[in-house]
Symmetry: C2
Subunit: 230 residues, 2 copies
């Protein structure tokens, strides 16, 4: 219940994971947390109990958890740290978008608030990380943009790639290789039913068609730009 107890790195990981699951799924279940953190479910139950006793989240047994205001605040602090670090490592130290996540994951527990603010200042207070994820303000305000998964963009639409998941380095390397970088514009040419692949035609000097599997497509956040009338 104490307001100013330092959180352990484990606690920080839980809060951030729960925040990210809440954004995607609304409520965070034990098994989802366990999967994100690569931890056995009983370990999650135990930790969740401690976190709810500290007032960081509310636990409805057998249902799931929700961050309290205090918990969300701490989670957003970690999200800010992670994303500022990713931008810094990419812009100032030559990291690629597929390798920053792992480094930031460790550093986010060790940096001071001061260092993060110095980095943010040196970067000109960036609004998005290298994967297009929005960066919360120091005060814990975040603007989650409304994006549509590529797997759900209507056929014939023009769309722009705005955000990708940073979890899997292999996936990021593959995307770069396909030409699917942030800001890439394309038309959705076709989509196979039954969770089948999506075909897109990338705009550019020589337009290229690419086929993207359903799972990958559902991890790509797109901004719709209206129908192609050509």
């Amino acid at each position: 219940m104490k307001a100013t107890t330092r959180l352990s790195p484990s606690t920080e990981d839980y809060l951030k994971a729960i925040y990210e699951i809440e954004v995607q799924q609304g409520t965070a279940q034990t098994s989802a947390i366990a999967e994100v953190l690569a931890i056995a479910p009983p370990s999650v139950t135990g930790m969740v109990k401690r976190l709810s006793e500290s007032g960081l989240l509310e636990h409805t047994p057998y249902k799931g958890v929700q961050l309290t205001r205090v918990g969300r605040r701490s989670a957003l602090r970690m999200v800010r740290r992670h994303r500022i670090l990713e931008v810094y490592l990419t812009s100032k130290l030559g990291y690629d978008w597929d390798s920053v996540h792992e480094e930031a994951e460790r550093l986010e527990h060790a940096v001071s608030d001061e260092l993060i603010e110095r980095m943010a200042l040196a970067l000109g207070h960036p609004r998005y990380d290298p994967h297009g994820a929005p960066i919360p303000s120091k005060e814990g305000v975040i603007e989650e943009p409304v994006l549509v998964p590529l797997s759900e963009v209507p056929i014939g639409s023009m769309a722009e790639l705005r955000q990708v998941s940073d979890r899997d380095a292999e996936r990021l390397r593959y995307l770069a290789q396909l030409g699917l970088r942030l800001g890439a514009a394309f038309e959705i040419v076709a989509r196979q039913p039954f969770r089948g692949p999506v075909t897109v035609r990338l705009s550019g000097r020589l337009p290229k068609e690419q086929v993207v599997g359903h799972e990958l497509a559902s991890s790509l956040g797109c901004l719709l730009r209206g129908k192609e009338v050509g």
Copy 2:
């Protein structure tokens, strides 16, 4: 005994502390380690046992410990990390010499070797940290310069301040205020007996005399420049 087991942050702290005590005192006693790490002596005994079982150091009970080759290698890796971080934070992010130590102390456990090498490259492979301490090479080679504590510089000599301890931020702020920065040149004017203070005359546009207490003086590493014949 396994060669490639990751070391815990605690282990890394012990090895670095022991290395630094060895440099100063030749051999590291339990109580010295306890003091540097701000830990109770029995905790040190316990950890030392584990570390010697892992082959990182040799423990002669009731006498003290010595790093093995493997232990020294790991210690120097931490020393390199710490010092590169200090230079980076100072040169690239505007930290002062009195505030970098604490930040580096946390970061040294979290950064990857790759990040350290990227920082070293961005800095042009610096040889000294902001407090004048030499930076070991990636391969674990360090050149400990031969310096004389200010408390032992003969009266009448000219000397240059080359290295200061980074442990105490207050002390560093005080030194800066006195005008005792790295590279500062001065003549030793007087020294009181019985561990008394040292009086130095700083060179510069308007030479100034400063009195430095014995304890502080013994933490300042000086390079002798010969007698003043003026």
